[in-house]
């Protein structure tokens, strides 16, 4: 691990000021992903700003009937919160489908959104990777692509975003709240939070340098049957091959988002509309722009079948 300076931020203002002062600074909260990558020197911040002392660890009701989830709320606590279990079960289910008990005890809401891809070529520092070393090339393209993206890819990167939680946040229309280095705040709809890889796959979100996530808010509950179905190589503690997060109302209308298929949770408006016509119709809309390789083309029928199982369960 490369050497770095370390400081504990006493206030949000101090945290963003410190991040702006030092080039190469990073915030650290749970640390479960960042420290892993620092050990491999894939991440090498010169300055770590520990934000664990900030008061972003609460889940509060919002005036419009939703929830405001502090950036530092641990995955375990978010999944177990009674309001989340009752009103946003999709979020509890997605969180519980990810990682292990130990990791969920540490991992935070904001950190989960910002976790890096698990593309094996991103992790292998002996291989070119445009995300790790911009301009060096993509080893995944033409390589072993069984678990790479089939949607939203570019000629520079075909990595997926690994989060389960983000899929639920996308289906629930969450908003990411931030504090900028200049003291301003902004709200970014989760639909606009992740940037497509394009020519700059190293820039993954709309966050500006030094911008700090303070909370994620959920609009008022939408009810319905909420189901998160994750398909993976082993029954627990593995990343998704594909996952389906769905909210299905009693009249058959609803929303659906996919995980394990793109650089972001994948949701298509036309697919939500098509849900009334069944899994085949909705999957066709979700996958309309898919560009699979022969190694990951299995994800297309797998998504349709998983969605079909989810819709049956929702009706049952």
């Amino acid at each position: 691990m490369k050497s770095f300076a370390y400081e504990r931020a006493a206030s949000p203002a101090e945290a963003v000021a410190a991040a702006t002062r030092a080039e190469g600074a990073k915030f650290i909260a749970g640390g479960t992903n960042l420290l892993d990558l620092m050990k491999l020197e894939i991440e090498a911040p010169t300055h770590l700003i520990d934000v664990n002392g900030l008061a972003f660890d609460k889940i509060e009701a919002t005036p419009d009937g939703g929830l405001r989830i502090g950036a530092l709320v641990r995955n375990t606590d978010l999944a177990a919160d009674e309001r989340v279990r009752r009103d946003y079960p999709l979020l509890s289910r997605a969180l519980l489908a990810g990682a292990s008990g130990q990791l969920r005890n540490k991992a935070t809401t904001a950190g989960n959104l910002l976790q890096r891809t698990r593309c094996p070529y991103f992790y292998d520092t002996n291989q070119p990777c445009n995300k790790r070393q911009p301009g060096s090339g993509c080893s995944a393209i033409g390589g072993f692509t069984r678990n790479h993206a089939i949607l939203g890819t570019s000629d520079a990167c075909i990595a997926t975003h690994p989060s389960d939680m983000a899929v639920a946040m996308r289906a629930l229309d969450a908003t990411v709240e931030t504090l900028r280095a200049d003291g301003g705040t902004r709200s970014i709809p989760i639909a606009e939070f992740y940037r497509p890889p394009g020519d700059t796959p190293q820039i993954e979100t709309m966050l500006m340098p030094g911008e700090l996530i303070t909370a994620v808010t959920l609009p008022e509950p939408v009810g319905g049957r909420q189901i998160y179905r994750k398909v993976r190589d082993r029954a627990s503690y593995a990343f998704a091959l594909v996952s389906v997060g769905a909210i299905v109302q009693s009249d058959g209308s609803g929303r659906v988002a996919l995980g394990g298929v793109a650089h972001k949770p994948w949701r298509v408006e036309a697919a939500d509309t098509a849900l009334l016509r069944g899994a085949k119709a909705a999957a066709a809309q979700l996958l309309a722009s898919a560009t699979p390789t022969h190694q990951n083309a299995f994800k297309l029928p797998l998504i349709e079948r998983t969605l079909s199982a989810v819709l049956s369960e929702a009706r049952g």
């Binding site: 490369k2 520990d50 375990t76 177990a80 079960p89 008990g101 130990q102 627990s236």
Partner: protein, 175 residues
């Protein structure tokens, strides 16, 4: 940034005792415990949060000590396997692992035991899991629940059935 290590003081309550250390800030909690406090019961397996051998209990919660910096635990209470029991006075979970032969080589065992102890507290607190049928109900102490909740602790010797028997006995479930 020069390649000089940054040193920092940290004070933690380890197994009930205040321990003050001056550490390179890069030192993980795992390395602080093993290399600086010589508490070698906690094991380093993968060092990347994938195996669970390094599991310790911090402020009542099980975490991977390899994926957290020691300096991030100023003032925290840390319980390692040495703090749970001693050879003369085993923790009930340790005694159950012995009784049910919940290991072969034993390398993952301290992590398994710390994880199991804190995991049962999570069930008591009503924390649901991926296999809980009803998110709103008190979780059941079934083997399926225990297996899911212990999936962050890998046993290369595959002593899993005996580990589940040991945990089930402590949990008070008939096996």
């Amino acid at each position: 940034m020069p390649d000089q290590p940054t040193m920092s003081d940290v004070s933690m309550l380890v197994n009930g005792e205040t321990r003050k250390l001056r550490l390179d800030v890069r030192t993980t909690l795992l390395d602080a415990l093993r290399e600086h406090l010589h508490l070698t019961g906690t094991k380093k397996g993968c060092d990347h949060g994938q195996c669970g051998a390094c599991t310790v209990i911090v402020a009542g919660r099980r975490i991977n000590s390899c994926l957290t910096l020691a300096v991030m635990h100023e003032g925290d209470s840390v319980t390692t396997i040495e703090g749970l029991g001693t050879p003369e006075n085993l923790h009930p979970m340790q005694a159950a692992f012995v009784k049910h032969d919940g290991y072969q080589c034993g390398y993952c065992t301290p992590g398994q035991i710390c994880s199991a102890v804190a995991m049962l507290d999570e069930i008591k607190a009503g924390t649901p899991s991926h296999v809980s049928a009803d998110l709103m109900a008190q979780p059941q102490l079934t083997a399926m629940e225990l297996r899911e909740r212990m999936s962050g602790n890998i046993c290369r010797c595959a002593a899993y059935p005996n580990i589940i028997d040991a945990i089930s006995e402590v949990a008070g479930r008939k096996t």
